[in-house]
Amino acid sequence: MSLSLTNRHSWFEATARARINGLLDAGSFSEILPPAASQPSPHLAQLDLPGAFDDGVVIGYGRLEKKPIFVAAQEGQFMGGAVGEIHGAKIVGLLRRAVEEKPAAVLFLIDSGGVRLHEANAGLIAISEIMRAVLDARAAGVPVIALVGGSCGAFGGMGIVAKLCSAIIISEEGRLALSGPEVIETVAGVEEFDAKDRALVWRVTGGKHRYLMGDCAMLVDDDLAAFRSGATEFLAGWAEPAPSLASLRARQQVLKNRLAAYATYRDGLQVWAALGVAEPESVPLLDRDSLVALKEGLPT
């Protein structure tokens, strides 16, 4: 179903709070550690920055089509959605609570460049704690679904966290990777990665590419309602598997095979052609439904 422009509420443009409101059942959201009960980070104050009451992440619980859901939503507009001490601890606390209370899922609205440099060490350790907490929640049978579609994408340590989740739902606007193109360009030169070539950046790290490659389970329109229906649909068909040697062996083989096949490639166009897409140049122009149909028609 394609959406008319007037019905659309862009996920990309929305704040974390607006995304939560659009995602969950109306009026069902309750925030844990709301702004009125919180202080901005003293680490930022020490660096002469005012900070934010919620330290850039909104956590709480609500319902998605009546099912109990925990939510963590990063605010990409605040310090690049980056993880500091308080921010990280809120997420870890929520994931640990999910192990106890076993909601139907944790929805992790990732919009982050990774570690907050202003609190670098705290951020790195926090991301490591988040990594373990995601795996613990999943091992307890609670799906943890990453929703990626904001301006910061899911980069750095949060790119690793995203790939530890049960699945990733991504929009065309979303990006998922490890190092930012600017960093690669600075260190390795513009020939290696021209960070200003937006089309290239999206062909390498963007939602359509990640979806075609199978690194994201679902591609949705840049729209609050589309993320809501995507998450609902995904959870309806998902049972969280127990961690197992067999599944990691299978994943190992998939990763090994594709490294062997694509190691020399430098552009999504090459990968899509190898996947069997007849006209790779058309991929960036296809709407969401057409791209999903294309993927579903590809040889596996």
């Binding site: 009125a36 104050a45 920055l49 934010a52 605040f78």
Partner: protein
């Protein structure tokens, strides 16, 4: 960073139970938290701002706001990253409206 405190007389308005938050602390932006204050005819404002030396401007903007809105009995906390006076005024009005609307 500069911390500023103001108190202005202001007409009291509706006094809901729940605080209201408006805005995001992005570059050129600010967040405003409105809570019940302890003085019914007074609007208390606490500001943390990344830009220094704009005390007079803040005083004027807050003063205008307090004079033209029923903000008495509120305690307002602001985290600012360089928003313009126009944006500040807009957000203050939005935040107060949301607070008094009891919007969830």
């Amino acid at each position: 960073m500069e911390t500023l405190e103001f108190r202005f007389d202001s007409k009291p308005g509706v006094r809901p139970d729940h605080p209201a938050l408006c805005g995001v602390v992005g570059s050129g932006n600010l967040e405003i938290l409105v809570k019940p204050g302890d003085q019914p005819g007074c609007c208390q404002v606490h500001i943390k701002t990344s830009a220094r030396g704009f005390g007079t401007t803040w005083r004027a903007v807050i003063g205008d706001f307090a004079a033209s809105h029923p903000a008495g009995g509120t305690a307002i906390a602001i985290n600012d990253m360089g928003a313009t006076p126009a944006v500040v005024s807009l957000r203050l009005a939005q935040a107060l409206a949301e607070y008094q609307g009891g919007a969830r």
